[in-house]
């Protein structure tokens, strides 16, 4: 167990060195989109809109934190892996070492979690400053951590199965971008038809948004959404293991 944790840290260590060297640009680029959404939807479109007692700004901030967790964790884990595997070929060094495949998957996902948490906390700090009614509870932080894990594992999975750098952006444009706008991040899903809901609840970001929003606004917590996030995480982890085992021993 100790050796496995040590191996996870070894895999993470390389990416932490990279992050330490490029932290300014890494953090800055991960904040651009969420901040633009915050300005455009929170202050622009959302001014004057409210959901019952909740103003739109309060409503949308947890959603933006969820999408920040998603995009940064996903790209943080997937993009470097994609480069290491297909361009640098340095990922082969991990596969040829005595480090277990489990540790490789967790280690590669860990950098996504670290980067996801950094950008999410930055947005959270801005969000709490703009809207002091937001509650940063242990449940909120736990939901945020689980969300980062889920999307980092998705990043690792995609980083392992794609065959070119173009595939990464194709996946981002076809899956991640629609998920950004449709998963209850900017609007409530409650008024949608049942069929639309069924589709949108099949997306992990929906559960991430709902969990974070409920925790932040002190609403009844959707435990099923948290459970769904665990389910997504498990599926992505198994997918990563299968992808690794397909090509390595």
């Amino acid at each position: 167990m100790l050796e496995a944790l040590n191996d996870v840290y070894t895999i993470l260590w390389v990416d932490l060195r990279f992050l330490r060297r490029h932290w300014r640009s890494t953090v800055a680029t991960s904040l651009v989109n969420p901040l633009l959404y915050l300005v455009a939807f929170g202050y622009g479109l959302g001014r004057g809109i409210s959901f019952g007692d909740v103003g739109y700004l309060e409503f949308v901030i947890p959603g933006i934190i969820a999408l920040s967790a998603m995009s940064t964790s996903f790209s943080g884990a997937g993009s470097k892996l994609n480069v290491d595997r297909l361009f640098y070929k340095s990922f082969d060094e991990c596969l040829m070492s005595p480090v277990s495949l489990y540790s490789i998957v967790v280690g590669k996902a860990a950098i996504g979690v670290v980067r996801g948490l950094i950008s999410s906390f930055a947005i959270l700090a801005i969000g709490v400053y703009l809207s002091p009614v937001l509650n940063v509870t242990p449940l909120f932080l736990f939901s945020l951590f689980v969300s980062c894990c889920v999307f980092a594992l998705l990043g690792v999975l995609i980083g392992l199965v794609i065959n070119s750098h173009a595939d990464m952006s194709t996946f981002s444009n076809l899956v991640m971008l629609p998920m950004t706008f449709l998963s209850g991040t900017f609007f409530s899903l409650s008024a949608l038809p049942v069929a639309a809901k069924a589709v949108l609840y099949a997306l992990p970001l929906t559960h991430s948004s709902e969990s974070l929003r409920a925790a932040a606004l002190a609403q009844p917590f959707p435990w099923l959404s948290l459970l769904a996030l665990f389910g997504f995480g498990l599926v992505f982890f198994v997918g990563c293991m299968m992808a690794l085992k397909r090509n390595s021993l």
């Binding site: 050796e3 040590n6 070894t10 260590w13 390389v14 060195r17 990279f18 060297r21 290491d84 640098y88 070929k89 340095s90 082969d92 060094e93 991990c94 596969l95 040829m96 070492s97 005595p98 480090v99 090509n247 390595s248 021993l249």
Partner: protein, 287 residues
Amino acid sequence: MNEFIITEKFTKCYGKVSAVQDLDLTVYAGEIFGFLGPNGAGKTTTIRVMTTLTKPTSGRVQIKGFDVVKDADKVKKLIGVVQQHLSLDRDLTVRENMEFHARLHHIGSSERKRRINELLTYVELNDFADRMVDTLSGGMKKRAAIVCSLIHEPEVLFLDEPTVGLDAQARRRLWDLVRRLNADGTTIFLTTHYIEEAEALCGRVGIMHHGQLIALDTPLELRKKLGAVTVETLVDNKETRYQYFADRAAATRYVQSLPPEAKTIIIRDSNLEDVFVEQTGQKVGDN
């Protein structure tokens, strides 16, 4: 000599294409073995299987008695690999790359530092240890890749086309390093499509062609089997014809028997390229 690498009826297919077919090969501990062949001959595929990066389709591959599939973890501790494409992390310095490799092989902190410093001295990279990999010359990058692969003191070092893209000086320096490593006890398995590299370094060579081993022996014996001396004759000012003879006397007799209009180009020692061309009808650099 002890058998170190053994393949028995080893075959690797990608779809319907056989990259390597029924390869029977033994590499002995302490030798420099050269795997020679053109691009696409199956050399890199063989190395990828031997280094646990991919599974054989059928047959058996063993390193020091350990099966590369069933005992992959044990095999990984025995091998060091320098891949054809530089597999260093270019976002790290040389020292950081070495540290990463040491960590991957569970080498403790103090031992890690000792080995890194020792190896940097060994390959004369001390002054460049804290430079980013991308700022190094091609030869330095290769030496950096080699020290990374040596950090866990492997018993066999796989070098896949180690001198591709290097200038003559860097190539010779790398050859010296390979010889030094071998003299210090490391078994070397080297693939190359440079004839002179195989002749300069390897005790034995195997020649691969279309996934099959078509010749296996010492460079000297392979040349002897073909004929130690080659006569190149220009025919009709268009085509060069090659004839092989056991010795210079026989070659000279042949040249003297040629009609006066024949233009003899050269009488020279045969080389591995002659062996390869005769075995395959193809030049080594051809695809």
